[in-house]
């Protein structure tokens, strides 16, 4: 197992390097640059700016300096669009925000989704199941960019209970709407996956055997059905977790949370190369890490899997 984990970590390094190089060159291919603006800069002014950021160097040199900066100084470079800050500042400010509301949403979505899913499967074809399935479909039909403005209209304007946006250091009032908007569709997906996987498991022969032995139903479910039924859920949770803690631009835009999702999209629109690369590396690193964790969790859940 340890050897397997070590091997995976070693593979992660070239994966990230390839990601950086690809991303770096793809950005260069996109039309326009960080200093393309409605008021094109006079050539001399542009030359001064490019010299300041080393953009006048050949691409391989820029690439090399960038990687060297990361390795030697842990410096992910400057932001071209916001000169008062660098990439480390932007990530340090935005990531904790996203991590907070993402983590809370993830815990809520997982607990609620798995709970409802299991109950719906056990009470298959009863009114409980129908309500769960109905609610799941409605929640999935309501994407967060529709839900967010509705929440603001209801809770801020009509009821006056919650602030319509902002972060305020993560005070709970400011967290409620982002968490609801972010977790709803995930609750629905997790419910759906849990329910169908649980149904399938409950119909398998080893469950029939367990029941035939005369085991009480709760033991059948907890001891025998739970672990195998969780396999597809866990494989869904890995990437979902990364997606949730790296933020949703929709949440950041509608609730002005100042999270990293917005910074990422802005960096692409602004051609703010270093910010885009920095956040890509963060996302990439997290994705690699959590895929590994999911694989480890698999080994624990399924005795057939051995690394």
């Amino acid at each position: 197992m340890t050897a397997y984990i070590m091997r995976r970590i070693l593979v992660a390094v070239p994966t990230l390097v390839i990601l950086i190089v690809l991303c770096f060159f793809l950005m260069q291919v996109a039309p326009g640059g960080p200093f393309t603006s409605e008021r094109p800069l006079p050539p001399q002014v542009l030359a001064n700016i490019e010299a300041r950021y080393g953009l006048d160097q050949p691409l391989w040199k820029q690439m090399w300096d960038y990687l060297a900066g990361i390795v030697t100084r842990f410096d992910f470079g400057p932001s071209f669009a916001y000169r008062d800050r660098d990439v480390n500042d932007i990530i340090a400010q935005g990531f904790p925000v996203t991590l907070t509301y993402g983590l809370i949403s993830f815990v809520i979505a997982t607990l609620a989704g798995m709970g409802v899913g299991v109950v719906a499967a056990i009470r298959h074809n009863t009114w409980l199941d129908y309500i769960a399935v109905g609610a799941t479909f409605s929640a999935q039909a309501l994407p967060n960019f529709v839900m967010a403005p509705i929440l603001v209209i209801v809770f801020t304007w009509q009821l006056g209970w919650l602030p319509g946006g902002g972060w305020n250091g993560g005070q709970w009032q400011y967290l409620v709407m982002p968490v609801i908007a972010l977790s709803t569709s995930y609750v629905a997906s997790i419910t759906r996956i849990t329910r169908s996987s649980m149904l399938e498991t409950l119909n398998s022969s080893f469950i029939r055997t367990a029941r035939a032995k005369g085991l009480p139903e709760h033991k059948v479910i907890w001891r025998h059905a739970m672990k195998p039924a969780m396999l597809p859920v866990v494989s869904y949770l890995g990437p979902t977790f990364v997606a949730m803690i790296t933020g949703s631009v929709v949440i950041d835009v509608y609730f002005s949370t100042g999270g990293i999702g917005r910074a990422y999209v802005d960096s692409a629109l602004n051609r703010d190369y270093a910010v885009m690369l920095g956040v890509t590396i963060l996302y990439g690193g997290l994705t690699v890490l959590f895929n590994l964790l999911v694989d480890v969790a698999y080994a624990w859940l399924d005795p057939k899997i051995r690394y």
């Binding site: 001399q44 967010a148 603001v152 602030p163 946006g165 509608y254 051609r271």
Partner: protein
């Protein structure tokens, strides 16, 4: 014990008591309106500002913050007229090449240092220095400050800039050519002073709230990127006793409709009105939905360069297309926010500019349509040989609606077949700058309140002339205008040439369309550049 601190303390107490009395009385010293207890103004901004460093800031929302934090030589009043700022006034030499500003002696930085002429010299040299590489360094070149262009180009050292401080209270500026509107330009953020010691001590971090030292009516106390920035009254400001508003909060809210909901919920004092919603909001919130002309235009530009379509080289085609656009439908049905139909490039609200009579403006739409049909037929286009071209605009709901309306008007009236293409902003700019288009959307907001900020765009050497329109007469007239005493006649002539040759299709002139809480006093509706100062605002008791 030394008695000086005690006397100081007593004076301070007295001053506080006086201020307390003034607020307890709670009326505006000029208008007599009852003032609200809570003097906080909260407004929405679309995006995070680029910077609050005066020499670096390049966006409107950043400049609004900088204008509160720093004070330049001159300010603008509610009408946009020049009023003294850090300078009490200026004199100009007979050859109009030297301006001498006298600085007030009670101006202080927020750390207590006096503001001296050397701080301006430092800031202005900083603005043009290739090492800082300010994206707005060109503004100093536009101001015609001696040697600015050569310093930016790296040909001359920064110290050669035509600005000097013979003493702490005197700033002398030398220009490379006379510029009638030079004094207006010193209200621009790029020209604001910075404290040399603070910039040197903190480098790029000097603008962070914990480090920043400023000389304006406010200091930056909080900045959470993409969420909010807060500025609070600066007690060191020379005119602090007349500043009523305690605090200004800018909230970044990307979505217009969410911002409007939050305004309705009372979280904001000011927000923009989304296109088309003004008539309804004006009915529901009389007196709070306001619209006023802005110094910006909206137009489409033909690609007249070699890469442009052959058809657009024919003036009859261009005129026909310009005539057939029913601007009223766009301003009244699509935007519906008090925007003004445009037949000239320069907005009517521009200072010292009267909209000249151009033929197209005096015609009825039916006459315009009839004339357009004739012109297009003369140019050889008709049902058998329809005119076809592509028009591009940057992705936005209202740009799309306008483009769709225009293409429908052309199709119905002239049988023209247009393809619409929307583009992501930077891709769009790249296409336009490289003349990789046939007909492209354009918009321009004046850098200063004078017609040349618009008309210069249509001269051959202009870097912003994306349609590559070139007319020697326009070029010569605009050069002449730089030094002329009476510019109206020149601008009239230029606008007439443009109307006749139609290198662009003016669509409308912008309006500022806001929801502004009725308890906000002092909003400068008549300042066409919308250069507003928190120090002039106040909250009225409801």
């Amino acid at each position: 014990m030394n008695s000086t601190p005690r006397i100081l303390a007593a004076m301070l107490l007295g001053a506080t008591a006086n201020a307390g009395l003034a607020f307890a009385a709670g009326t505006h010293p000029v208008t007599g309106e009852a003032l609200a207890e809570n003097q906080v103004f909260t407004y929405r901004v679309l995006d995070e500002h680029s910077s609050v460093d005066p020499q670096i800031v390049e966006d409107v929302s950043g400049s609004d913050v900088v204008r509160d934090l720093f004070e330049g030589l001159m300010n603008q009043d509610a009408q946009g007229r020049l009023v003294p700022g850090t300078a009490t006034g200026y004199t100009v030499s007979d050859d109009k090449l030297t301006y001498t500003f006298s600085l007030r002696d009670d101006a202080k930085w927020s750390n207590g240092d006096p503001v001296v002429a050397g701080d301006f010299v430092y800031a202005w040299k900083r603005a043009v220095s290739p090492a800082l590489a300010s994206p707005y360094s060109w503004f100093m070149e536009l101001m015609s400050i001696k040697n600015a262009a050569r310093i930016i180009a790296g040909d001359v050292p920064v110290d050669e800039l035509g600005v000097s401080a013979p003493d702490d209270r005197t700033l002398v500026v030398r220009l490379s050519q006379p510029l009638p509107y030079f004094p207006q330009m010193v209200t621009h953020a790029t020209t604001f002073p910075v404290n040399p010691a603070v910039v040197a001590a903190h480098g790029a971090d000097w603008t962070k709230p914990e480090n920043i030292v400023s000389n304006g009516a406010y200091v930056l106390t909080e900045h959470i990127p993409n969420e909010r920035s807060v500025r609070e009254r600066n007690p060191m400001y020379w005119d602090a006793e007349n500043v009523l508003l305690e605090k200004t909060v800018a909230l970044v809210i990307n979505d217009e409709n969410t911002a409007l909901t939050r305004w309705l919920a009372g979280e904001l004092d000011r927000t923009e009105v989304p296109a088309g919603q003004f008539p309804r909001l004006r009915k529901e919130h009389p007196g709070e939905a306001i619209s006023f002309p802005r110094l910006c235009n909206y137009y489409y530009t033909f690609n007249l360069s070699e890469s442009g379509p052959e058809a657009f080289k024919d003036v009859r085609v261009r005129k026909a297309l310009a005539l057939a656009v029913d601007r009223r439908i766009i301003t009244e049905n699509i935007l519906a926010g008090g925007q003004i139909e445009a037949f000239t490039f320069t907005p009517a609200a521009t200072a010292n500019f009267e909209v000249p009579d151009v033929e197209i403006a005096s015609m009825s739409q039916a006459e315009r349509d009839a004339s357009a049909k004739l012109l297009l037929a003369e140019a050889g286009y008709g049902p058998d040989n329809p005119l076809k071209f592509e028009m591009i605009y940057n992705t936005s709901e209202s740009h799309k609606r306008i483009a769709v309306a225009m293409s429908q008007m052309w199709k119905q009236k002239l049988g023209v077949e247009t393809t619409l293409a929307n583009m992501e902003w930077k891709t769009f700019l790249e296409a336009r700058a490289n003349q990789d288009f046939e007909l492209a959307r354009g918009a321009w907001c004046g850098d200063y309140n004078e017609a040349s900020t618009f008309l210069d765009l249509l001269t051959s050497p202009s870097g912003y002339n994306d349609g590559k329109y070139s007319n020697t007469m326009v070029d010569e007239l605009m050069t002449e205008a730089k030094t002329a005493n009476d510019t109206q006649a020149i601008y009239t002539k230029v606008e007439q040439v443009i109307a006749e040759e139609a290198p662009i299709i003016p669509i409308y002139h912008y309006a500022g369309v806001y929801m502004l809480d009725s308890d906000v006093g002092g909003w400068p509706i008549n300042n066409i550049e919308q250069n507003w100062y928190s120090k002039d605002l106040y909250k009225i008791a409801e």
